[in-house]
Symmetry: C2
DNA sequence: TGTACATCAGTGAACGCGCGTTCACTGATGTAC
DNA sequence: TGTACATCAGTGAACGCGCGTTCACTGATGTAC
């Protein structure tokens, strides 16, 4: 087991660069440059899918993308920045799917359930998410905070007490359901039904 | 590399070490040896508490325990075995706390709630757990499977449908609550109340 | 009692390896005249 | 049209470093006689 799962938070290797001046990357502007950047992110997804978040080494990513190691640093300041970009890309995709599924509903149970379903479906489309879900964290950082904030008004509209605390628990519930489904790679109606019962409370 | 079984022949107390069989560790038997092993695990907890699961390097552990690097391999076959022992130690402690809190209840809501409270309290006692909780995993492996199995009969006794799927979701719910409490280091009555509402379903 | 030896635990230098990161350089593309 | 130059992206060898692991050795303790 190479347990680099949490390494995105720390740099295991000390940097010669002075800590106060972070290396800067000038964003790609040419179509070719943009394509290379996208290829690196896509490679990151593929690697994460196969080897988990801990498997996302610069070596593995550039090998999967078919570019030189140096190219990685043309597009990303360092490994952490790459991981962050990956996360952002995931959150964006899933967020868009949720937005599309919920925009026609008022805050409340229907909107919440529609959002949950969209979330689960989006996760199934992005198997690599599994690795990220595990440590998405529901704390101050991480995309789940966004989700919790989106869930809260629905609970409020549904007349729940402790909507804030409950929202975070709901997100955990949904994330777990996503993990369960990702294990088999298909929808799990039983889990979804059980999940629905938790949030509907009859 | 040279053949290991040959080189170890030179040792007066030779061990049969076939190349294809995993290195074995003979468990410590003397009080001193047992104390050293316990010190390594305790050091692992301390390191995990401060740097997360990924921070548990052999170097960090032996430094925290104040022993030589080689000593680590006297007591554990490799890093993975150490992590597994850490997990087992956690699961054992928490499991014991839950057992003590639930043994006087029949299966059902009261037993479930008592177990949940005991779990949360035990987690607060073991801040290092935070790192492990994040990746305890609720899949085939990991201690959470045990918890899910313990939860299930209670749900069944409470007349729930989909008790199996629901049990896993309940475990995720409780784990998230534990993480929330670990963030501040104290009980969070609001979260516990919200949690209780999820599992009681009024 | 002393002595020889077996057993157990601990030591730390040394190893090979993969990691993240750097940097001097090359090539491709666009623009000016 | 050709030529000179600027800009952008890509390259890959090389670096230092921390990692997990090994192994020949030392020291402490127990036991036999």
């Amino acid at each position: 087991m190479t347990d680099r799962s949490c390494t995105s938070e720390r740099s295991r290797y000390h940097r010669a660069v002075p800590a106060d001046v972070a290396r800067q990357v000038r964003p790609a502007v040419t179509p070719h440059g943009l394509r290379t950047r996208a290829a690196l992110l896509e490679a990151g997804r593929a690697v994460a899918e196969e080897h988990g978040l801990a498997g996302i080494s610069v070596n593995a990513v550039v090998a999967a993308a078919g570019v030189a190691k140096g190219t990685f640093y043309v597009h990303f300041a360092d490994r952490d920045a790459f991981i962050a970009a990956l996360r952002a890309s995931f959150a964006e995709r899933v967020g868009a799917a949720i937005a599309a599924a919920t925009e026609h509903h008022e805050a409340g149970a229907r909107r919440l359930l529609a959002g949950i379903d969209a979330y689960l479906d989006a996760c199934l489309d992005q198997r690599a998410l599994k690795a990220l879900l595990r440590e998405a964290g529901t704390g101050a950082d991480g995309a789940d905070n966004t989700f919790a904030r989106a869930v809260e008004p629905n609970l409020r509209a549904m007349g729940w007490r402790d909507a804030h605390a409950s929202a975070r628990l709901v997100v955990a519930l949904v994330a777990e359901a996503a993990v369960i489904e990702l294990e088999t790679g298909r929808r799990d109606p039983t889990t979804r039904r059980a999940l629905r019962r938790f949030v509907q409370r009859d």
